[in-house]
């Protein structure tokens, strides 16, 4: 019994170490001068250098500083807008009864599984027609619409677990539907909204495909788009690339450390219940 315990422990520990090693590798590579890590980040001597980060931040063709600013704008916009819209929709679908509600829910459910490739080409054409190509607004709109289905699904599930008595009370007191929503339901939804926002923010931040097809002006590119550009055609500067990777990961990492609870709750969503 005891022996097996130790065996399980050591296997779990070694898996965890294997899983952590790649991350340790890029941290080491990013923090050391490039010439030291040419043949592996594990060889001594170890010197500390912040030069890789400076180079990545101010790179001539893919400055990550600018990318960070664009990514922040897109991720914040594409989180706030759909969160509000989705909570309205979720209330409509969760509490009101109207003809076509069932099919509509099914449609939204199906959209959850839609691959982004399905909308790529027409979306590109449409954004071109709307003069929203190369614009962060266009990207925010695309991300907002794309994120809505799962947000609605998640929030609707949450609303249906709230007691209806409170709404009743509000309505007896003469509040209309919108007021009931804004002053009764919305505050009660805050925990769910936190999960939805954290998850959507991370997804938008991490997204590459939509940004790739909608934005190609070097000044407007978001962070993830600039990473492939940091890699030279023939020569790969791993120090630079690792530093870039860490800068791009920074925000999701902060989310992971400080908002883990909401993130996990969002992931679990309807899966476990």
């Amino acid at each position: 019994m005891r022996k097996r315990n130790i065996l399980a422990k050591s296997i779990a520990l070694s898996i965890a170490v294997i899983w952590a090693l790649p991350f340790i590798g890029i941290v080491m590579t990013a923090l050391r001068p490039s010439r030291e890590v040419l043949y592996g980040w594990w060889y001594p001597p170890f010197h500390f250098s912040i030069k890789n980060f400076v180079n990545a931040w101010t790179h001539p063709t893919a400055a990550l500083g600018m990318g960070l600013r664009n990514s922040l704008q897109v991720a914040i916009g594409a989180t706030l807008l759909p969160t509000f819209v989705a909570s309205l929709m979720a209330y409509g679908l969760g509490r009101l009864r109207f003809p076509g509600r069932g099919p509509l829910l099914m449609l939204i459910g199906l959209l959850l599984a839609l691959p982004q490739q399905m909308i790529a080409w027409p979306l590109f054409r449409q954004m071109h027609a709307l003069r929203l190509l190369n614009s962060l607004t266009g990207l925010v709109l695309a991300h907002s619409a794309w994120g809505l289905p799962w947000m609605v699904f998640f929030l609707r599930g949450y609303i249906e677990t709230l007691p209806v008595e409170l709404e009743e009370a509000a309505r007896i007191d003469g509040a209309g539907r919108l007021k009931t929503f804004l002053y009764v339901i919305f505050p009660l939804m805050l925990p769910a909204l936190a999960s939805v926002m954290v998850l959507q923010f991370t997804w938008v931040w991490n997204d590459f495909f939509l940004a790739l097809i909608l934005i190609f002006d070097p000044n407007r590119m978001v962070l993830t788009q600039r990473i492939p550009l940091l890699r030279g055609q023939y020569h790969v500067d791993w120090g630079l690339l690792s530093a870039g990777a860490l800068i791009t990961m920074l925000v999701p990492l902060l989310v992971f450390i400080f908002l883990q609870r909401y993130f996990v709750r969002g992931l679990i969503g309807g899966a476990v219940k």
């Binding site: 594990w42 109207f98 959209l111 839609l114 449409q126 619409a145 677990t161 991490n206």
Partner: protein, 327 residues
């Protein structure tokens, strides 16, 4: 979802009051059906407009485009062409020679290797970590879990880094052990190893997802079941087989479904690590679709590929939506 007009709090004790409540609610403030319909429209309007313009309409256009070619209506000929296309399916090479086997086969390899591995490993890790009480468990879980929040584009960079000829750990270690050339050189540069490198790397990135969901599932299982089993003398393996596994089944199914969808649309990792190369040996459907649409400017072929990915995804999506709407 149609059985009751209102969603009620779960629980059995309030059975009676639950029945009475909707009636009361319906009678008191009811101002006619039309009013409720209009109100619903008001709540849904903004979202429906966004989804209609940026999701549904483009999807319909893609579906429509997939049935045309430059000359006009083409029926299913684009799809027939896909199945004859060596970039998509290369029957003459598949499993007989080294890749490229075609993008669809590569996605299938991904599904057959990556899916059981991530789902199974995540499940096992969740169970093992739940039994260990040591100071490092939190850190260990964190390290595995980190893959979910890592942007996939960064994940791709790290995978390439891991399998790089000089700076990469894997070829260096294998080289020190005396492995022959593709295995001890840059994996992503050789057709024999490029796809494998990406699949292994994506297992590294995605196991955390399976682990987190299974851990959450574990915490909902009643401890008393295990205590009872222990009293009856069931071994730990038997407890896993007859309590944990069946009770986690719904979670495992969801994880498998979401992993399947993830594998079908895999793109970022391949784009940044190999660009589908060398010579198409690690190409996937989503990347092929991107090339068709935005490099070769052939929207018809691109739409057919996109529709193909969707055809694979939708059954899973339907199952998933049904399941979540049932409640």
């Amino acid at each position: 979802m149609r059985s009751s007009p209102r969603a009620e709090p779960k629980g059995t004790r309030e059975g009676k009051s639950r029945k009475g409540l909707p009636l009361l609610f319906w009678r008191l403030p009811r101002r006619g059906r039309r009013e409720e319909w209009l109100a619903a429209l008001g709540f849904l309007f903004l979202g429906l407009v966004l989804i209609r313009f940026f999701v549904i309409w483009p999807s319909i256009r893609t579906l429509w485009f997939s049935l045309f070619d430059a000359k006009g209506f083409a029926g299913p000929s684009n799809f027939v062409a896909l199945f004859r296309d060596r970039e998509i399916l290369d029957f003459s090479r598949f499993l007989r020679r080294e890749p490229p086997w075609g993008a669809l086969f590569h996605n299938l390899v991904w599904i057959f290797v990556h899916l059981p591995f991530t789902v199974g490993l995540g499940l096992i890790l969740a169970v093992v970590f739940s039994k260990i009480k040591s100071w490092w468990v939190g850190i260990a879980r964190g390290a595995i879990y980190l893959g979910i929040v890592t942007p996939l584009i960064v994940g791709g960079v790290i995978i390439r880094f891991l399998f790089d000829k000089h700076a990469g750990m894997v070829p260096q270690i294998l080289g020190a052990l005396g492995a022959p050339i593709p295995w001890s050189a840059g994996w992503v540069a050789y057709p024999e190893t490029a796809l494998l490198a990406l699949v292994i790397g994506s297992i590294w990135l995605w196991t955390g997802f399976s682990m987190v969901l299974h851990s959450a599932g574990l915490s909902t299982i009643d401890r008393e079941l295990y205590e009872a089993a222990q009293i009856d003398g069931a071994s730990e393996l038997a407890q896993f087989r007859y309590i944990t596994l069946p009770l986690l089944r719904p979670v495992t199914l969801v994880v498998a479904a979401m992993t399947f969808l993830w594998e079908l649309k895999i793109f970022d990792i391949v784009y940044v690590a190999t660009m589908g190369g060398p010579g198409g040996a690690s190409n996937v459907l989503a990347l092929e679709m991107y090339f068709a649409a935005f490099r070769e400017l052939d929207p018809y072929r691109a739409s057919a590929i996109a529709t193909l990915i969707t055809l694979f995804s939708l059954p899973v999506g339907y199952w998933f939506a049904r399941r979540r709407l049932r409640r």
